[in-house]
Amino acid sequence: MTTAALIATLVKIAVFFGITISLAAVSTLFERKISAWIQQRYGPNRVGPWGVLQPLADGLKFIFKEEVAPAGANRLLFRLAPAMAAAPAFMTVAVVPFTFPLILDGTRIPMAIADIDIGVLFFMAMGSLAVYGIMLGGWASNNKYSLLGGLRSSAQMISYELAMMVSVITVLTLAGSMNLTRIFEAQIPLWNIAVFPVGTIAFGIFLIAAFAETNRHPFDLAECETELVGGFHTEYSSMKFALFFLGEYSAMVMMSGLITTFFLGGPSLFGLVNGIEDPWIKVLAGLGVFLAKVCFFLFLFIWVRWTIPRFRWDQLMHLGWKLLLPLSLANLLLAGTLVATGVL
């Protein structure tokens, strides 16, 4: 292990975590601004010009608010749950390639913090752990609303996880590798979303499942303000609530990044960026393209939230188990057939 590699890793950690957290913070502002725009309101406009300092003000408020834990709560799990809700999203940052590998003097530095060969499995494992934060948070509060929200949400997350896994496997049959850098490199000639019909269907399923996994509208039955108050985080306040909040938005950023990597060719843009000679410019341009795609999906997450009404619980389970799961399995078989017959 050379010092150079160590420095490269540290720089990557600082930059990529920084990008993720700032995107999460900015998207909380944009959530309000876009919702205001959609509903013809002003939205936050008091803190700084155009309300840009609102996330900062929110953060300070989180810090200086009193922290209250209900008397009947389970102390250990009540404290553990917010961290378990936020950790999986941040852990996923480690495997997402933010841009093209940097090639300097013949050495290839992959632009993911940890460029591991089982990146896809790592992401799925982290995704499957995300359920704990919500489940334990709901249970440990010893509040009926929290329990209902936590239960619903955990059942929802495990239901949609299956469809998500199968659509990812479809991508794997196309790419033939579980390394996320290789997956986007295989798409430089043709993005997976354009591989009709299998890639397109897999993209649709993954997108829907991503909404469900991050508990976003129209699948936000975990919170469901009208019937469950705040759902699983009803009893949380101050920094613990902030962690749930941060976890949700970071998960959105990470899901956007993964959709981009799996289906939209990551940092590639119709061969334009890939053709750049200078290694540094190529890396920066790739980062720009990647972030632009991520921002598009973040906008989509927010747009959908303020446009589409919430599902009813039985409709949600129906969609997950009876439509998405069989459809994704059939799609996988179709992809297998097309690859085996040499069409793809």
């Binding site: 799925m124 209902l148 619980w313």
Partner: protein, 203 residues
Amino acid sequence: MALPVFLILAAGAVFFAANVVLRRNPAECAVHLVGSFFCLAGIYLMIGFPFLAALQLLVYAGAIMVLFLFVIMLLDLRREEPRENPRISTIAPLAMGLLFGLLAVVLPDMPVAVATGRGAVAGAGGAEGGKELANYLFGRHLLTFEATSLLLLAGIFGVVVLAKRRTSRKADLERLLENIEAESRTERKEPPLVGAGSEGVAS
């Protein structure tokens, strides 16, 4: 480099595993078991089985423990008073010790085999993310692989049968009606049930 990391992971695994036994609250036990799985996954990584490590997290921590937690939440914790059974609490450790002793005699070089990777699937985690394991699984152990799917199918049948017995509609409704009846007779301090779905059909 490797030894201290291993020691930390092993100590963590033992610590969490001990907590699973020692904690009173079953939900806390379950969470500690997840911690133990994490440490085990770390050990798998160290001996060069990243694929196994990821599956350990995905299947055990991500699926089976979620089921466990559901079951724990399904229990009525207030009614399940912790019982002290002196006979079991003396016999169980002895039996476990005996079992581990037996394992150590029967499989003396197993830990070495695992550590050096000359076990059944040598280098399963190898360079290319489970490719060797896959070749092994879908080449030599083809039939076993397909038989696994049948086993899992049997598992699904089992689930349906289990669910059937517990949620017999008649029993469900009778219990529901009984509760309503009890409610109407006496003003009770505590509700007998909390309906969890939006439809709220409590079982």
